[in-house]
């Protein structure tokens, strides 16, 4: 067994070295942009109620599923540009692209919207490619990917009309949405370019701001590179009443399924009244490292994945 482990760890050593370099570049990038690196608690009394994210419980508290609420409390207190690299924990998420304990990079900019945050992401990824001496084209799982910005953008509505043949803004079927997203929409993306999928149905807004209009949309954008769902950006919702209403709905759904214990994040809601307009994003660091190591599985970029802890 010990022999297997030392072989496994020696095989991924180059990836872990590259991983460390990627962390250096990320930190230097945000420092040069005037961001403050922050740390928020991993052990928390409540998590954002989301029906498809299950937290681990520890003595009645939870391991953090995302640093988002604490980071917004910092923004509400006047911190203007912050970033964090931290571990997040989500129960039962295990697969080629998932480990129940994983690493997230989040950053927030006061005064920005979701598409300005997407521009940050373009610059960050290009900076990484450049610092890793890969130029602007990387090779991932057999495909050449041209990273030059701006990355192609497509609305959720257009992508579904093109690839799945239905309009999720006209009577949304959430279950069908996810199946078609995975089986039809994502596979239709140009493999030689990153793709930004933007403007989600309002029912899938989560913590994003809505843009009213004849076709109201949630200002949410997701970045896909090489088939990997890499990051999820929002123009952040700053309306406490609306946020509370959405959380209430999620808590009711959770309770219907017998999942109790997730209570309203009161302190976060209180802080929302002081939250300025801002944009933010959560980016999966393990997947970013996979992309730059041409790794097909998260197990190739993490020293001790779930089954080897």
């Amino acid at each position: 067994m010990a022999e297997d482990e030392s072989l496994r760890l020696s095989q991924i050593k180059a990836n872990l070295e590259r991983r460390a370099l990627i962390y250096d570049v990320i930190r230097a990038f945000f420092r040069s942009e005037g961001f403050l690196e922050v740390e928020t608690p991993l052990l928390v009394p409540t998590v954002a109620p989301e029906k498809y994210i299950t937290p681990f419980t520890v003595n009645g508290w939870f391991l953090s599923t995302s640093p988002e609420m604490h980071m917004k409390r910092l923004l509400a207190a006047g911190y203007g540009k912050i970033f964090q690299i931290c571990h997040c924990f989500r129960k039962s998420e295990r697969g080629r692209l998932h480990n129940p304990e994983f690493t997230m990079l989040e950053w927030y900019r006061v005064g920005a919207d979701y598409m300005q945050i997407i521009q940050d992401t373009e610059r960050l990824v290009l900076t990484l490619a450049n610092r890793l001496r890969l130029g602007t084209t990387i090779r991932y799982q057999g495909a050449e990917i041209d990273l030059v910005s701006p990355w192609p953008r497509i609305t959720v509505r257009q992508a579904f009309l093109n690839s799945a043949g239905w309009d999720p803004f006209n009577r949304l079927d959430e279950e069908r949405f996810e199946v078609d997203l995975v089986e039809k929409v994502i596979p239709s993306f140009d493999t030689s370019r990153p793709t930004v999928l933007m403007d989600y149905p309002v029912a899938m807004a989560s913590l994003a701001r809505l843009r009213p209009g004849s076709l109201p949309v949630a200002e949410r954008a997701e970045v896909f590179i090489g088939g990997l769902e890499l990051a999820n950006a929002y123009s952040e919702l700053t309306d406490a009443a609306e946020q509370e209403r959405r959380f209430k709905q999620e808590i009711e759904t959770l309770e219907r399924e017998g999942k109790r214990g997730i209570v309203m994040p009161e302190r976060f809601l209180e802080s929302l009244s002081s939250l300025p307009e801002c944009g933010g994003i959560a980016l999966g660091v393990d997947r970013l490292v996979m992309l730059f190591c041409d790794a097909s599985s998260i197990d190739e970029v993490v020293a001790f994945p779930w089954d080897a802890v």
């Binding site: 039962s92 697969g95 959430e174 997203l181 989560s206």
Partner: protein
């Protein structure tokens, strides 16, 4: 059992038929429901099928015990094994064993999966050691197998071995691939 608890080799029932999970592909859009693309093997007939489940789906757990049994004898088209714990005897049809039946030697201890008294699977040890009872002369005719010749084993099985293996030698056989591994002892 919640679908989230299912992993490779988990066994569960679909309409009363036991299936073993051969592969799980877990897919989850960031904020969305998890999807489990499973490759399943029917434990009654060995066929495989793909099946998709979603988070919070339930599957019917099945109790499959793994028992150590020793091979006793062949009876027509069946092979008879005895449970080493409770001495119960189980008769296993030839089809369930396939080509591995040729490496069954009296007294060999195997692992048998049993569901409600019915044998689902017989797993032989990865390696068995068997005596060569009839060694053919080394042949030079066949170019592909020029390095190998066929010999008969004490169990009646036929195995391709290197030319130096003789009658009376004990050889080690890989039961997963039906192939020769090495010569263990040779008759002086």
């Amino acid at each position: 059992m919640d679908i989230a608890e299912v992993s490779r080799n988990t066994k569960f029932l679909i309409n009363g038929v036991p299936f073993a999970v051969e592969d799980v592909k877990f897919v989850k859009p960031g904020k969305g429901r998890a999807m489990y693309y499973l490759k399943l093997r029917n434990l009654f007939d060995g066929t495989t099928r793909d099946q998709t489940y979603h988070s919070s789906d339930k599957v019917e757990e099945v109790h499959v015990s793994s028992n150590e049994m020793q091979y006793l004898y062949k009876e027509g088209d069946h092979y008879v094994f005895m449970d080493n714990e409770n001495f119960e005897q189980h008769s296993v049809p030839k089809e369930l064993l396939g080509t591995r039946s040729q490496f069954l030697k009296e007294g060999l201890v195997v692992t048998v999966s049993v569901m409600e008294g019915k044998v689902l699977e017989v797993t032989l040890p990865k390696f068995v050691e068997l005596a060569v009872v009839k060694g053919a002369a080394s042949t030079k005719s066949d170019t592909i197998t020029a390095q190998l010749k066929m010999v008969e084993l004490e169990t009646g099985g036929v195995l391709a071995v290197p030319p130096f293996v003789k009658e009376g030698d004990i050889v080690k056989v890989d039961t997963r691939t039906n192939t020769y591994v090495e010569r263990v002892t040779t008759k002086k």
